[in-house]
Symmetry: C2
Subunit: 271 residues, 2 copies
């Protein structure tokens, strides 16, 4: 993995950095996926995300106002002016803080070795807002790992990070190119693998939700690739009681993951 | 309600309308809420929405390509050129069709007289994407009515219409300024009123889901106003099994509405 470009050390008492400072220019490139992939770094912004990310922060940029408002977060921060912070931030209101973080996804075998009871797999999901929302819901439902499989969105995409509302930092994040390998590994490790599929033959209300469970979710537009859904133990649809033709991805994932969460929490209490 | 401006009748054989034609200029104003409120008209775009909206269409604008691609929808359409359609559309790809529709929300008493088993109330929800998504999920879960209460987003906002994916046309849409009046009317009509509230004292798993049920949902940022949540029969939280601090509105609504849908569908089968 290529390091971030070497940049000059800062002298104490120097003026705040600007959008033209080499360190800021280098950090700004992390808004692009290619730069994130090559350097293993990504950006988070705003006090809540910075707090959640603290174990992974390499450099924190803070405006004087950001330091004043968040003294508990900004020891060791690099001072930056408003225009410099604006250049790094993707939202209108980052409240004076943007951090460069190291990526921290774990290999699939490591995540499975912890024996999570619930796992979510995002197969080819390309919309960062959807991916981040499902990550957040999976965390809430008690999932131990979220696997980004195939040609899926980068979990460190700024919009995905923001939509996850901190959950990116709570679960094991795994990236695997081959979704079939993921399904095989899950089944080899004793998971029941369920494909969320609007056309699936099994109703969610009849689905086998007992024991360690992994849910596969596909894209909003095309769902799961059929061969991948076939590789699961069951293709499961959320019943449609009204006249809607489908649910959106985030809603379907919430219903499926919470159906599992409820069963698994009852099982855990009876252990 | 003020009528749309009078515009000249079209001669057969006239050239397609443009973005400067008075009828197009008048229709374009419907992108603004005030104009929708004053005229009782709104815009839908694309063939799927136009098909769903057919009972409510007052005028359909179609490009020659739109007519060629969708002959089953475009009898009686007003021809418009690409620039004219582009001025009316809010999406990049409306596939040559934009329609002016009459709004069709119904009074609260009329929606309740149909005795729906499930109702969703959006109280002060301001994000149109969220509102449309919850409307879609409510339809899928079998809700008969969705009530926009208080200072909520306009259900005919273009983004809300698109996020509803047709469900705007499937359920009774009600608009009521006073959310307390809505809660009282629901209770007077025998509904159990449940406030979805991350800080609620009752777990969703223990909530009273039997019989006609109405769910109250508030904004993502602030939830429900506390006095409104107190007016419900119970304040219900979705259990958080992991480390997420909350669910987003669309996910929480999906979990709550489907918890009801499941119970109500079992009750219906046993009737």
């Amino acid at each position: 993995m290529r390091p971030l470009p070497e940049t000059p050390a800062l002298r104490p008492g120097a003026a705040p950095l600007t959008q033209r400072s080499p360190r800021v220019v280098a950090a700004r490139r992390l808004q692009r996926r290619r730069e994130r992939d090559e350097t293993g770094r990504f950006l988070v912004e705003g006090p809540q995300a910075v707090r959640e990310a603290s174990a992974h922060i390499e450099e924190l940029f803070a405006t004087p106002k950001g330091v004043a408002a968040h003294p508990e977060l900004t020891a060791g921060a690099t001072l930056i002016n408003d225009a410099g912070l604006g250049a790094l931030a993707e939202t209108v209101n980052p409240q004076g803080l943007v951090a460069v973080c190291r990526t921290f996804d774990v290999p699939l075998f490591e995540a499975l070795a912890k024996r999570p009871r619930l796992v979510a797999v995002l197969a080819e999901v390309r919309d960062p807002g959807n991916a981040g929302t499902v990550l957040r819901t999976a965390d809430a439902a008690g999932a131990g790992a979220v696997i980004f499989a195939g040609d899926a969105v980068d979990p460190y995409n700024g919009k995905a990070v923001r939509a996850s509302a901190g959950s990116l930092f709570h679960v094991d994040v795994v990236r695997e190119e081959d979704p079939f390998h993921v399904v095989k590994a899950l089944r080899d490790n004793g998971f029941t693998v369920l494909a969320a599929d609007g056309y699936g033959s099994v109703s969610l209300y009849d689905a086998p939700l007992s024991g360690p469970t992994a849910w596969l979710f596909g894209t909003e537009a095309h769902g799961l690739p059929p061969e991948l859904a076939d590789a699961a133990d069951a293709r499961v649809h959320v019943p449609l009681h009204g006249r809607a033709e489908s649910l959106n991805l985030a809603a379907a994932a919430a219903v499926c993951l919470y159906a599992s969460a409820r069963v698994l929490s009852i099982e855990e209490r009876s252990l």
